[in-house]
Each structure stands twice: as C-alpha cells, then as structure tokens.
Amino acid sequence: MEKLYSVKTSLFFFIILLSSICIAQENYIVFKVDGTPILKHNDTLRSISKGSLLNNNSRVTLKNSDSFLMIDKAGSLYNVDKTGDYAYADLQKIPADVDDTSFTKKYFTYVWKQFTNNTNSRSKGGVVYRVDNNSLMFQPTDSVKIYFPEVRFVWKKGKEKDKTYYFILKDLKNNNITKIGTTDNNVTLFVDNNILKRDNSYEWTVSETKYPNLDEVPFYNFELINTEEFKKLQAEINNITTDLQKLGFTPEEIKVMLCEDYRICY
C-alpha cells in the first residue's frame, strides 16, 4: 500500500514536472526580424523568421545588423539587437521594451511643436518612382542558353554592407523554388543534377525582401543546354567567331559578346 502511495506521489510530481516543462516551452514568439539571425534548436540550424518559437532548447546567434523583436505570453515586446550568442537564459534576462517618456512631457513637446510650426513638411513631389528588380540582376542576363558546368549569378549590391539579399531560383520543369539568403552580391551553383540540371529551364531573381510576391517580381530566364544542343549551335557560333576574329577580337572577348548579344554562354 505504502509502495503504491509512493508510486502515485512520484507519478504526480512527474506529471507536474512534465507539464511545467511543457508550459515553460514556447515562451517567446518572434514578432519581427531584420537580417538573418540564426536559431539553433535541438541541433538543427535555421534562420529565424516571424512566428519562430523560442524555448529552453533554443539558442540564437546574431551577426552584425541582425536584430529581432520577440513577444512573451503576456504580449510584452523584447528587442534583441546586440551581436552575439544567446542561450534561452540570456534571452530571459532582456528587459521588456517600455516607453518611459512621461505623458506630460509628450504633451508639452507636442504643444511646443505646434507653436513653433516644427511639424513634418507636407510638401509633395509630382513624381513616380520606378524601382524594380531588373536593376538588381547582372548575370546571367535574361533568356540565355548556358553550356557550362557552373553558373555564377551576380547582382547589384546597395551601400549597406550587411544587407541580406534573397536569391530565388525557379525550376520551370517542376516549379520547385530554391531560396538562398546572402549578404554577398553573387552565388555560384554547379550543374550537379541536384539544383541545376542539364536540359532544363530556370528562372532567377534577387529580392531585398524575404517573402516577395513572386507574381510581381521580374525573373530572368535561362536554359541549361545539353551537349547535343550545343553541338547544333556550334556551327552558328563558329561563323560568328570567325567573323569576330577577323575583326581582331580575342577568343575571351568573343565569348563575352556571344553571351551578352547572342545569348549563348559557354
């Protein structure tokens, strides 16, 4: 009887412990992310995204200019913006964001602004801005045929050094999408029958936002041709090459011209 009692008691405490662990989990939800902070969760690594759950098993790494906002169960906001590694215990030490400016100070600042006309200018410019991704993508250019064991994708980079760009590759055969985030301005992929396959067509783009609307983002198209198709094009390439050689262009310059103007890169 006594044994049964002790088993019951142990079971009770075990359930309490288990439930407290379960409750302790999912302590924070990621609300906003800037950059690509890395989340290590039970030996798996992935970048933090909105909605990521941070609990006892989570470890977060922030590089330069990475930051994120997280919320607890009560809805309080916590700003994590300093570079470094954060264990869950470190995250718990971060104080909640509190707006401690006094109400009266805010009010009289507002009154002062009104009296000194120190308000935002409402001047308007009659202009439309055309900012599209075409200006971001450099190479490979649109609608090219590529016969090469690797493809180097290059795009324009802004002034912000640590800004993350999202390279998106769409396989037109099966509509698979590969997305790579990088702070660099290029990425090289190999024709290894894994991501890139011969005899297949692709579209690529670069976005400054993590989740762009793919229906609206412009894509560049390219085709990875096989040896047979390249041989078919060879006669045409030879003709152009001969003409260009006569004009004094080097073989390297001719390759660049063929790629840029005739849309055949090899």
Partner: protein
C-alpha cells in the same frame, strides 16, 4: 457674505447667461449660413482626441498574440481554399474570414472552397447595405456563424471611432463579425463581461494599433513558414491587408481612423478594415473599453468653467487696461492648454471628455464680457440696478 462678493456672483451669473444667448444666436447663424459649409464639413471628421493616437501618446509596447492576421492579398479562390486548409490543419480556435464570395465562379474551385469553408470554428462575413444584406453565395453555406462586417452605421463622419455590435433589421438581430469571433473564442468571457447587455449600444473603439502591432503574415510568408503551429487555439483572421502587406498606396478596404497622422483636412485612409476588426476583438477580449462623459456633464462643466472665468475677469479688471487684456489672454491660453492635457490624460485612462465645447464656449463667453459691461451700464441709465461693475 460681503455685498461686493454677492454682486460679483450675481453679475457673473447674468454675464454667463448673456454670453450663452449670444453664442446660441451666433451658432444658429453658423449652422444655417451655407457660407460656412466648407468649415462645417472640415470640422465634421475632426476630434482633438485623435491627437492621442496620431501623435503616439499611446504606448503600444504589447502585442495581442491571441490574434493572428493573414493577408490574402490578391489571391484567387483556389489559393484561399488552400490557405484555409493549411490553417484548419493547425487547429486554431476560431478562423474569421473578412471576405465575401458573392458570386459563383469555376464550379470545381468553388467546390474546393466550399469544403475548405466548412467548419464550426469558421466565422464568415456579410455586409448590411441600406437594410439589405450582401452575403456569400448560397453554394458557400457553412456550418459556422456569420457576422456583419460594417464597422459602424454612423453616416455623420468618415472616421471610424465607434462600432456597433448588434444591428436590428426587421425584428431580426444580427451580430457583428468581431462579436461572433469573440463568442466563439470564449463564450465564458462573453457571459462574464455581460456583453449582450453592454454592447447593446454603440461603443467607442479603443485602438491598440495598426497592422504592425499585431502578428501579421503575408500569404507566402505564412504558407512557407515552418512555425505554423503557433496559431493553435488562437484567433486567425483572413482578409486583405494590401499588396504587399501594409502597402500605404493601396486603399482597397482601407478606412480613416483616429490613428491617421493627419487629424484634419485631406489625407489618405490609414487602416485596413480587417485591422479595425482585430482592434475591436482585442478590446473585447481584454474587456478594455472607453467610457464617454455624457453631454449633461459636459454642459455642467462648461457652465462651471464659464461662470468662474467670467467671475475671475470681472474681479480682475474693472477697466479694459492693457494689463487686464494681457492677463486675460494668458489665462485663457493656459486654460485651453491645461484642459486639453486633462482630456488627453483622461483618454489615456479610458474616459472620453470632449473639451471642444467647453473650451470654445468658455473662450467665446469671456470675449463677450465687455458687451455685458456695456449692457449693464445702459440698463443703469434707465433703471436702478446694483452691479459689481461700476
């Protein structure tokens, strides 16, 4: 009480009444002259208390993580059906759809959508338009509840400050979208807070913030998210938040609210309808309401402030000296600034005290003091009239 004090009180009282008569006559002209119509139209949507939101007097350092908003962007019915299936799989407590599928389109896709819409926890929406109802096509009939998505029925203003929970049309009561969501999410809270009674009249919305103060996801952002389980047992709202999410130039289903940075004059609408619903739901879940000071109390306060201001200025200056004029202007300025501070402070505490009438009438009354003095002197030439004014 000294005779002089008695006379001061008597004069202040009569001066207050006199100024009210003049204000009434002037306001009558103001209302009826079409010359002032543009001014009236401008003032129609203005409330000084909007400054509370537009100038960020409200510290919104919290997020209600019980409400999750997903933007359906310009996605078609097939994609919305897919989204619904994915959301349902994660077992949220309530799914609210701020979308009306008015007509039938492709029958196959519509059948997928009908299937996706089926569920007791799915709240659909309808619109009350001049006592007629615009609702989903009958093919999308669901087992869940439905609520009206009209934000208010007040035609006097374009700014959404209040909401109606129950609307009676031809002896039938209809519940609002937000109310249906809250009852489905927590029937016990609905009972506990006695909302059936409390929400029988229009209520002022206590705004938590715009879309960026809620946990919002774009369509792809949600579909590609690895942490969809976070919506379990939560309220998920599906509707339009612009393309892309939060696009300031996208005005579809966007409305004027007190959060608009431009408090008077021409501006763009600032908040998507779905976010207004989210604010109402947030307010109902937290039982965090605003209480309005009645017009009777505003009248009493106005009378008191007018009476004492006139009394003070009678006591201060018997002649229109420079000193008197300067002090009068400073005192009235400080009175306006402090009263506006008080009204904003009370607003922060959840009490709506509209000070425009109090300030306006008090200032106008004080400007009529010299007319009253002239009138008294005129009377004194005709009859014997004891007055504080010499």
């Amino acid at each position: 009480m000294k005779l002089k004090t008695k006379l001061l009180i008597k004069d202040s009282f009569f001066a207050t009444l006199f100024s009210y008569i003049l204000i009434f006559l002037l306001s009558y002209l103001f209302i009826n002259l079409s010359f002032f119509k543009p001014l009236k139209e401008t003032m129609k949507d203005f409330s000084f208390l909007d400054v509370y939101y537009s100038e960020n007097f409200n510290p919104s350092n919290t997020v209600n993580n019980d409400i999750i908003i997903i933007n359906v962007e310009q996605r078609d019915r097939f994609e919305i059906a897919q989204l619904l299936e994915v959301v349902k799989k994660e077992q949220p407590k309530v799914i609210g759809l701020d979308i009306i599928f008015r007509e039938q389109k492709e029958s196959f896709i519509d059948s997928l959508l009908t299937k996706a819409l089926d569920g007791n926890n799915i709240i659909t929406s309808f619109l009350i338009n001049n006592d007629s109802i615009i609702t989903n096509n009958p093919v999308f009939k669901t087992s869940g509840k439905s609520g009206f998505i009209n934000l208010n029925f007040n035609n006097k203003t374009n700014v959404i400050r209040e909401f109606t929970s129950i609307k009676n049309i031809e002896d039938t009561n209809y519940n609002s979208f937000a109310s249906q969501i809250v009852t489905s999410y927590s029937a016990s809270k609905w009972e506990e807070y006695n909302y059936s009674q409390k929400l029988s009249k229009e209520k002022v919305i206590k705004f938590h913030g715009n879309y960026d103060t809620f946990l919002t996801f774009g369509f792809d952002e949600f579909m590609q998210n690895n942490n969809k389980e976070l919506i379990k047992n939560k309220i998920v709202l599906l509707g339009y938040l612009g393309t892309p999410t939060g696009n300031i130039n996208d005005v579809e289903d966007k409305h004027f609210t007190p959060l608009n940075k431009v408090t008077a004059g021409k501006s763009n609408p600032d908040m998507f309808g779905l976010v207004i619903h989210a604010n109402i739901i947030n307010m109902l879940l937290k039982n965090d309401f605003m209480y309005r000071v009645s017009n009777l109390w505003i009248g009493i306060i106005t009378f008191i402030t007018t009476f004492f201001s006139i009394m003070y200025f009678h006591w201060l200056g018997e002649k229109n000296t420079i000193r008197f004029m300067t002090i009068k202007k400073i005192v009235l300025f400080l009175f306006s600034v402090i009263l506006m501070w008080l009204s904003l402070w009370l607003f922060k505490k959840g009490i709506i005290l509209k000070t425009a009438a109090i300030i306006g009438i008090t200032l106008a009354s004080c400007s009529f003091i010299s007319y009253y003095k002239y009138l008294i002197k005129l009377i004194q030439t005709k009859i014997k009239w004891k007055s504080y004014i010499q």
